[in-house]
C-alpha cells in the first residue's frame, strides 16, 4: 500500500485502486489515497500515469476487437490531459470493473458511455498539474495553462514539463471530476484527427498480441471435442486409444451440462503441441447422446406455411390495421438465413489453475460476463478468477459469450498446476457458434392516393432457444422498429419457432437482418407509389424532427438527423443520375446503436446475372468523430461486411448439426469483389456515439434495391449468391 508506485508492477498498481474504490467516479482514486501513494509518479486515477521522467501512460479500458477503442478511448483522455499523442504510451487496462466500470465491447457503446467520464479523467490530471506548477512558482493558478505536456506561466513564460510536476501533483488533493473545467470542443487538438491504431507497429511485425498468441511456461496445447449436435452429451469415448497417439499426454471427458451458455460436455485432448491435439481430435472415437431432430429445412417449410397467416402474438398495433379492400395492398415475403460470426481468429483460451484459483488469457469481448460462468462451472468464487483481455482477432458479438473460456478453465482445473491453451479448429468454430438468427417476414403495405404509406403489417417468424414464447438472443423485433411511429396504421406480429440452435448477438443484432427486409419492402412501397425511393423515404420520415419512443421506453428517433444523412449521401453519390440498363443505384437507411446511417449502393448486373458492386457510399451522423481514421475504417468495413454476409453467407443446420465446415462452404468476400467505399460524416453537435455497428444494417438493403433498379428484379431471399439475377 505504501510502496512507491514506481516500484510496483501494474497489477499492484491497480490493486490500490481496487482497495480504494468507491470514488465519485469510475476510475478515480480518493484524494487521501492519491496523496498517500504519490511518492513520485502521478496517477490521479486509474487511466493515467505520468512518471517523473515525463512518460505518459494511458490505460485503454475496453477490449479491442478491431473497433479501434484501444486508440480512440485513450485519445479522449489525452485530449483533456493536453498532452501530445506522440508522447503517450497506451496500455491495455487489466480487468477491474470496480475501477473501470463495465469493460466490454458490445452494442457500439464504448464511445457514448465513456466519452464524458474519460474527458473528466484527463481534465482532473491537467487541473492538478497546473495547480502543482502554480504552487511551486507561487503564482495564481489562473495565470498558468497546460499546453502540449507542459504547464506555462503566461505572464513570465516559465515552463515545466508534466514529468517534473508529477511528484508535486501527486501530493495534491484530487478534485471532484464534476467540477473540473473541460475544454471547449472547438479547442480540441486531437479528437477528430486521423490517428493510426496504437498496435499497428506490432501488427505489421507479427508481435504476440492476440489470445491465440499467449504462451505460459510448460504450457500444454489442447483440443476440446464437443458433440456436433448442440449441447449433446458424451456417451462413450475411447480415451485409451487417443492417449497412445503421438504427442498426446492426456485425454478426459468433461461431463458439462445441457446449458448452451455454460460448460458444454466434451472430450478434452491434451498434447505437446496444437497439431498433435488436432490430429488426435480427428482420430477420436466417440459416441454421443444427442437429439438430432433440428433441421433448418423443416423450419423453412413450416415458415412458408405460417408466415402468410396470422402471427402467434402481437408486438404492436396502432391505428386501424385492417387493410381497406381497394386493391392497393401489396404483399411480399422476405427470408434471411442464420449466420456465423466466423472470426478469423478461432475461439481460443489459455488458462492455469493453481492453488484453487484460475488465471485466464482470452480474446473476450465481455470478461465480466465470463466470470459468472467460470465460477459456476469450476465451483470457485469469483475472487479466485483473474482474466486478462488480449487483443481480439475479430469480435462481431461472438466473444460476448464465455463458453470457450469456461471450457478452458474447466480443463485447466483438471490439469491442476499445468497451463493449457485450447484452440478451436475452423469446423468447431463454425459449428459451435451462437448464430445470427435467420427469419421470415411477410409484409403487407398500402400507399394511399396521395402516394403516402398508410398501412404496414409485418408477420415476423423467428426462433427461440427451445422456446415458442421467448425469442433467442438478437432474434426479436421491437415494437418501435421503423416504420413504426411513422405510419398511421400498423400491425406487427410474431411467431416463434422453438429451436435447439444457439442464437446470439451478431454485429448490429436484430438490425443486421431487419433493416434488409424492412428497407427492401419500403422500396417496394416507393415503387407502388411511383415515387423516387429517396423522396418517398424523406416524406415517410415526416416533419417532426424528433419522435419519442412509444410508452416512454427505448430510443427517440431523430428523423431530422436521418433525413440529413439521406440527403448527404444522395448528394455525394450522384443520386438521380440516369444510368444504363443493367446498372442501378439503391438507397436505404437505418437507425441503430444511436447512429443514423444511410447508404447508397451502385451496382452492375450483367444480363446473365453476374453481380458487381461498384461503390458503396455512406452518410453517417454519430455526433463528433473521435478518431477519423478509425471511424472511416469502421464504416468502410461495416459496409463491405454487410455486403459479404448478404452475398455469400448461410449457415444450415441438419440432423442437429451445422453443415458448413470451413471457408469453402462459408464464404467471406475477397479482394476481387470489394467495391469502392466512400464515407461522409455529417457535421453534428449531438453527443458522440459508437461506430462498430450502425453502418452495417442499411448496406444490404441498399444493394438489393440497387439490383432492382438495375434489373427490375426484387431480391427477397438471401444469400444473393443463390439467387438468379439474370435479366432481359
Amino acid at each position: 500500500m505504501n510502496a512507491p508506485l514506481d516500484t510496483m508492477d501494474r497489477r499492484g498498481f491497480f490493486r490500490i485502486g481496487a482497495l480504494v474504490g468507491g470514488g465519485f467516479m469510475l476510475g478515480s482514486w480518493s484524494s487521501a489515497e492519491a496523496a498517500e501513494s504519490g511518492t513520485a509518479a502521478f496517477s490521479p486515477n486509474a487511466y493515467i500515469r505520468i512518471s517523473p521522467e515525463g512518460a505518459v501512460t494511458i490505460f485503454a479500458k475496453n477490449p479491442e476487437v478491431g473497433q479501434g477503442v484501444k486508440t480512440s478511448l485513450p485519445m479522449i483522455v489525452a485530449e483533456e490531459l493536453e498532452v501530445p499523442w506522440e508522447k503517450v504510451t497506451v496500455e491495455q487496462a487489466p480487468v477491474n470493473e470496480k475501477d473501470f466500470g463495465r469493460q466490454m465491447a458490445g452494442g457500439s457503446m464504448s464511445t457514448p458511455t465513456n466519452y464524458d467520464n474519460l474527458r473528466r479523467m484527463g481534465a482532473i490530471a491537467r487541473t492538478m498539474l497546473v495547480a502543482a506548477a502554480a504552487k511551486e512558482w507561487q503564482v495564481p493558478v489562473d495565470e498558468c495553462e497546460a499546453v502540449s505536456g507542459e504547464v506555462i506561466h503566461k505572464p513570465s513564460g516559465r515552463k515545466a514539463g508534466y514529468g517534473s510536476l508529477a511528484s508535486a501533483a501527486s501530493k495534491l488533493p484530487v478534485p471532484d471530476g464534476k467540477t473540473v473545467t473541460l475544454k471547449k470542443v472547438e479547442e480540441f487538438k486531437l479528437l477528430g484527427k486521423r490517428i493510426g491504431g496504437v498496435d499497428n507497429p506490432k501488427i505489421v511485425t507479427g508481435q504476440p498480441l492476440f489470445g491465440i498468441d499467449q504462451k505460459q511456461p510448460d504450457m500444454k496445447y489442447a483440443c476440446y471435442v464437443r458433440c456436433p449436435v448442440f449441447a449433446g452429451k458424451v456417451k462413450e469415448a475411447d480415451l485409451e486409444s487417443v492417449k497412445k497417439l503421438p504427442g498426446v499426454t492426456d485425454a478426459f471427458v468433461i461431463e458439462g451440462t445441457g446449458d448452451h451458455y455454460g460448460l458444454l460436455p466434451g472430450v478434452a485432448i491434451i498434447a505437446k503441441d496444437t497439431w498433435s491435439a488436432f490430429k488426435a481430435k480427428n482420430a477420436l472415437k466417440v459416441t454421443w447422446d444427442a437429439d438430432e431432430k433440428e433441421s433448418f429445412a423443416a423450419h423453412a417449410a413450416k415458415a412458408a406455411e405460417v408466415v402468410k397467416e396470422k402471427g402467434a402474438n402481437e408486438i404492436r398495433k396502432t391505428g386501424e390495421p385492417e387493410f381497406p379492400d381497394d386493391g392497393k395492398t401489396i404483399e411480399a415475403s422476405y427470408h434471411y438465413p442464420h449466420l456465423s460470426h466466423a472470426n478469423l481468429e478461432p475461439q481460443n483460451c489459455t488458462a492455469v489453475f493453481k492453488d484453487g484459483a484460475v488465471e485466464i488469457w482470452a480474446p473476450t469481448q465481455n470478461p465480466g460476463g465470463a466470470l459468472d460462468g467460470i465460477a459456476k462451472a469450476l465451483k470457485i468464487g469469483k475472487d479466485k478468477i483473474t482474466i486478462h483481455m488480449t487483443r481480439i482477432g475479430g469480435g462481431f458479438g461472438r466473444r460476448l459469450m464465455g463458453d470457450f473460456m469456461i471450457e478452458c478453465a474447466a480443463i485447466a482445473q483438471k490439469l491442476d498446476g499445468t497451463p493449457v491453451k485450447v484452440t478451436w479448429t475452423r469446423d468447431q468454430d463454425l459449428g459451435h457458434d451462437y448464430y445470427r438468427a435467420g427469419g421470415w417476414h411477410h409484409f403487407r403495405g398500402r400507399v394511399d392516393d396521395a402516394g403516402k404509406l398508410s398501412h404496414w403489417a409485418d408477420h415476423f417468424v423467428t426462433f427461440g432457444l427451445n422456446s415458442d414464447e421467448r425469442t433467442g438472443n438478437g432474434a426479436d423485433l421491437g415494437g418501435d422498429e421503423f416504420p413504426s411511429r411513422f405510419v398511421p396504421n400498423l400491425l406487427l406480429e410474431r411467431t416463434i419457432f422453438p429451436s435447439n440452435t444457439p442464437l446470439g448477438w451478431w454485429r448490429a443484432p436484430g438490425s443486421c437482418a431487419l433493416a434488409w427486409a424492412i428497407q427492401g419492402f419500403i422500396d417496394e412501397m416507393a415503387f407502388a407509389a411511383k415515387k423516387d425511393p429517396l423522396d418517398f423515404r424523406l416524406e415517410l420520415l415526416g416533419d417532426q424532427p424528433e419522435v419519442p419512443p412509444t410508452g416512454g421506453r427505448g430510443q427517440s428517433y431523430n428523423a431530422a438527423r436521418m433525413k440529413g444523412v439521406l440527403k448527404l449521401v444522395a448528394e455525394k453519390s450522384g443520386w438521380g443520375e440516369k444510368l444504363e440498363k443493367g446498372r442501378g443505384r439503391g438507397i436505404a437507411f437505418h437507425f441503430s446503436h444511436l447512429g443514423y446511417v444511410a447508404v447508397v449502393a451502385d451496382v452492375t448486373v450483367s444480363q446473365d446475372g453476374v453481380l458487381k458492386v461498384n461503390k458503396l457510399s455512406a452518410g453517417v451522423d454519430v455526433g463528433p468523430i473521435m478518431n477519423l481514421s478509425g471511424a472511416e475504417n469502421q464504416v468502410e468495413g461495416s459496409m463491405i461486411d454487410g455486403l459479404s454476409a448478404a452475398w455469400f453467407q448461410e449457415i444450415l443446420v441438419e440432423k442437429g448439426a451445422v453443415q458448413q465446415k470451413n471457408f469453402h462452404e462459408y464464404h467471406l468476400l475477397t479482394m476481387k469483389d470489394a467495391p469502392k467505399v466512400e464515407v461522409h460524416f455529417a457535421k453534428s453537435g449531438y453527443p458522440p456515439t459508437g461506430l462498430g455497428e450502425p453502418a452495417l444494417p442499411p448496406t444490404a438493403p441498399a444493394i438489393c434495391n440497387a439490383i432492382f433498379a438495375a434489373t427490375g428484379k426484387r431480391v427477397r431471399t438471401l444469400p444473393l449468391a443463390k439467387q438468379d439475377l439474370s435479366w432481359g
Binding site: R194, V204, P246, W275, L344, I392, N633, N662
Partner: protein, 153 residues
C-alpha cells in the same frame, strides 16, 4: 518424432516434431514465432502465409518435412534491423488494420506480389490477394497500401 533443422528468418532453428506437422504449428508452438496465424487449416484464408525461398506458401498445409534447407521467412523476419519495409510502413501510415489478425498474411502475400510485379495493377492485386480473407473487410485500404508501397520504391 524427428528433429528438423530449419532456416527461419536467417537463423538456424531446431524443432522436434512429427514429420507431418505443418510448418505453421512448428513456427507457432515450437519456435515462438506467433506472427504467422491460424485461420482455417485448409489453405482457404491466407492468414498463415509465409515465404519459402521467397515464394508465398500457406504454412498450415506445408509439412515441416517438405522444407529441407529452403529458407523460411515469416512476418517477424521482414523488417531489417527494426526498419519496416515499404509495405509494413504503408500499412501503418494508412491505418489498414482493424482487428489485425489477417494482416501478417496479407503483408506476406503482398510482399511476394511486389517482388513479382513491382508496380501492380488493380487486376494484379485482385489475382494475388483474393486468397487472403479479411473478416473486418479492410480490402480497400490493403489495395491502397500496396499501391502506396509500390510507388515508394
Amino acid at each position: 518424432m524427428k528433429t528438423f533443422k530449419l532456416n527461419v528468418n536467417g537463423q538456424e532453428r531446431k524443432a522436434e516434431v512429427e514429420e507431418d506437422t505443418p510448418l505453421l504449428w512448428v513456427l507457432r508452438d515450437h519456435l515462438d514465432l506467433v506472427g504467422t496465424k491460424f485461420g482455417c487449416g485448409m489453405s482457404l484464408c491466407g492468414a498463415c502465409t509465409v515465404h519459402v525461398n521467397g515464394e508465398a506458401v500457406r504454412a498450415c498445409v506445408t509439412p515441416v518435412s517438405a522444407i529441407g534447407d529452403k529458407k523460411v521467412t515469416t512476418i517477424e523476419g521482414l523488417a531489417n534491423d527494426g526498419k519496416l519495409t515499404a509495405l509494413q510502413q504503408a500499412w501503418c501510415d494508412l491505418d489498414v488494420a482493424q482487428c489485425g489478425y489477417c494482416q501478417a498474411g496479407q503483408i506476406m502475400c503482398a510482399t511476394a506480389l511486389l517482388r513479382e510485379k513491382p508496380d501492380p495493377t488493380d487486376e494484379d492485386i485482385d489475382l494475388a490477394m483474393s486468397g487472403n480473407l479479411c473478416r473486418c473487410a479492410t480490402y480497400t485500404r490493403i489495395r491502397k497500401a500496396i499501391h502506396t508501397a509500390a510507388a515508394a520504391k
